[in-house]
Symmetry: C2
Subunit: 464 residues, 2 copies
């Protein structure tokens, strides 16, 4: 244990906003674990939100984590498991006393249990399902029968649905008479005799409307249903695009199967963003800070390998012109500038394109116009920075033609970067390959190859 | 007008998920605009959600946009303005007939009007505020008095608050007697005699509880308040971390000022993600697909300029070794590989670090442990790819010592990339500079300089 690590660096700006963990709390908790003071530990943990306890477990190292869980014992709350990052979750479940685990899981809502189970190995899955009572076991097994990352996995099955012809008063009496209303619900869903949703009314409107009013006259325009097998990414898009709060999920025959609420959609949106951002930087999506060294290495090596191949490919282009470089070593000094500027311009355009494809702002409809605009921007920036670099090269090496060569090469590379940066993500998307994942290597290969070829080719043509 | 652009490329995978616009609808709408058929236009637009109409206006070009708005006329809905991207919004407001604009704005909730006004120039702001009735003007001006991007700007002022000692029955009677309940509310907020929130109860629980039950016995654990001047980024973090649905906002004295709902927090979260992703790629945050060429160029040029300076700096390192390259041109062929692999490893680590800082998973608490882990990962990947590249170089150029040099240089550069990739974002964050914005240039400068220096320095020492 490294005590110094805990108490120094007191004013880190990361923790000052009043949410999340505070450094002093974490230090006190670890001290309690060190001296084995269970009462102090429980008192310190008691005010913390499950999400913050999960963050705490993620931030400390594995031996501390095990000792904390052992000392904390039966207090372990199921919500902590839900909040934990996958990589840590498996470790924690493995360490937990089976009785404590069973208690923790029994407290959870069924959709949280499903979320928990999804990422576990088969034996751990079975142990947890076994801890549930029969009714919950059935619900959970049914949910797991839907495709991974589908609306069926995301939805809660607890809904409040009433016949579409009811009045406000009937709905109120029904709800007040019902014993087990869902923990979370914002709408009363209207269903036809075959249990197909036809509209919904907000609780707020029901609160303020006369008892005799027909529910059908108070439905919301925002009503739409989600098929049970729809991808959760599309669900999150719909919530974000249409400002939905909760939405009924329907089975193949259009019957009400459950409901998805915005907080679940927000989690999906957040995860999708994280995935896109990391993928664009060439990090495999499973990566997290709590992964161990080998997993982290594997998550990075794939893309480094692809990059090695493309970098060697670009070097083959340089090799074509090794005689030229041999005659003018200044070319070797300057050529990385051309490639680097191209790579950066390509990355910029690519990021804008990947984001616009994800938000569906870049479509077949406006693709040509956007490509034209990017080409113009590339040409203008190419002219601007080509000129600047030409001046630098002229002063640096005193060879006017070298200035012309690097300026022209920069211009060409910037235009190629603009073109590749937008066309490659669009093509990948059309081929149903995630543009965030695969665009990077292709774009930088294009800019490197064009950059080296334009610069060295022009140089060998003009200068020698 | 380019008709071909509209009808070709029929099977773009972007539009098939059933949400958003579909290509045929867009083509039909543009055809109606072309022939000036107002009835057809209105009929085609009628089923569309305001968010989809906004997307449509963003996707078509400026002349089409103006003609569509002119033809659409008085039907223009205020919600479309709310959904529009800022850059387009100003143009649309400028084009709208003033009476239509006034009507459109009067239909909006006050928080939407505030959101609309924030990004407009002064004269447009005044024109819109002038169109509101007196009470709304006051509300809007008050909201605008809060700092930009603060909870005060984000909140709605319409709340349902009752004395904390009330019973379920009293709350129900109060709500049923009230004429203007908010459009959107999910909790009844309990306040003390000085109007300070002390807890909240969900509408769902009120629906199912006996009339005599005290509201105080049914409050939610998730209750917390948000100061009116808190940054909206922290608000979004709290909603995401604690799965909040709606949360009271309080003024300096702790009195209830308004309420923020999760749908607003979701929009902020989405915007913050977009900003981070684009910033990491060196695109200024204001960028959008609808920007014109000059704005787009400006949004990219800043970072390209920074990159030009750092690339020249890296070239100065190469220049130090120009004699070495002159003696062995293979060095010029291979050196970009070392720099490229370093840049990519640095970007990977940086992306993980920037994301972890944003989600507060990387803190002063665990920084040293994570840095150690990244260094080990960098060393392992460096050894792996250094060895691979050494073999490639040995076969390619047949100089065993060149293989040793490039392998060692790769190892060093990978370790430097790991170090820079995590330490630079942490340092910038501590200096209160957005790590997403500024890390990129620093990290690639480190990897370029270390890469060229290690490779060429080792080469001049060992080979010559």
């Amino acid at each position: 244990m490294d005590d110094q690590e805990r108490v120094t660096e007191d004013e880190t700006p990361l923790e000052e906003e009043g949410y999340g963990l505070n450094r002093r709390e974490v230090a006190a908790i670890l001290d309690a674990v060190d001296v084995g003071d269970r009462d102090a530990l429980i008192e310190l943990m008691e005010p913390l939100h499950a999400a913050d306890i999960a963050d705490l477990l993620e931030q400390i190292d594995s031996p501390d984590r095990r000792r904390l869980i052992a000392l904390y014992g039966v207090e372990f709350d199921g919500d902590i498991l839900s909040e934990l990052d996958e990589s840590i979750r498996e470790e924690v479940i493995g360490v937990l006393n089976p009785d404590v685990l069973a208690d923790a899981v029994r407290d959870l809502e069924s959709d949280d249990v499903v979320d928990l189970l999804e990422d576990l190995e088969e034996p751990q899955q079975q142990a947890i399902i076994g801890a549930l009572d029969d009714a919950d076991q059935m619900v959970v097994r049914q949910a797991l029968s839907y495709p991974e990352d589908s609306a069926g996995r995301l939805m809660q099955r607890e809904v409040v649905a009433v016949p579409e012809h009811w009045s406000v008063g009937e709905a109120i009496d029904f709800m007040r008479g019902k014993e087990d209303l869902p923990e979370q619900f914002y709408h009363v869903i209207l269903v036809d005799p075959r249990h197909r949703p036809t509209g919904y009314v907000t609780l707020g409107k029901i609160m303020s409307a006369p008892r005799a009013q027909a529910l059908q006259d108070m439905t919301e325009d925002s009503f739409r249903t989600i098929p049970v097998d729809q991808d959760e990414e599309d669900v999150a898009y719909a919530f974000n695009q249409y400002h939905l709060i909760s939405t009924p999920v329907v089975d193949d025959e259009g019957r009400l199967a459950g409901v998805i609420t915005i907080d679940d959609a927000m989690i999906v949106l957040d995860e999708e963003h994280e995935e896109d951002m990391l993928r664009m930087a060439g990090v495999s999506e499973e990566a997290s800070l709590s992964d161990n060294v080998l997993e982290t290495m594997r998550g990075r090596a794939t893309w480094l390998f692809v990059n090695l191949v493309t970098a060697i490919f670009a070097s083959l282009v340089i090799d074509l012109f090794s005689d030229t470089i041999d005659q003018m070593v200044a070319l070797a000094v300057l050529m990385p500038i051309v490639a680097s500027m191209g790579g950066n311009a390509g990355t910029q355009t690519m990021a804008v394109a990947v984001r616009a494809i994800a938000t569906r702002d870049l479509t077949g409809q406006n693709a040509r116009r956007i490509i034209r605009r990017e080409l113009v921007v590339g040409a203008l920036n190419g002219a601007l920075f080509g000129l600047a670099m030409a001046l630098v090269a002229a002063f640096w090496f005193g060879v006017p033609m070298l200035a012309v060569v690097i300026g022209s090469a920069m211009l060409m590379t910037q235009v190629a970067a603009a073109f590749g940066g937008i066309v490659i993500p669009l093509l990948l998307d059309r081929l149903k390959i995630d543009p965030a994942l695969a665009s990077g290597p292709f774009v930088t290969t294009v800019t490197d190859v064009v950059g080296f070829f334009a610069f060295l080719g022009l140089a060998s043509w003009v200068l020698l």
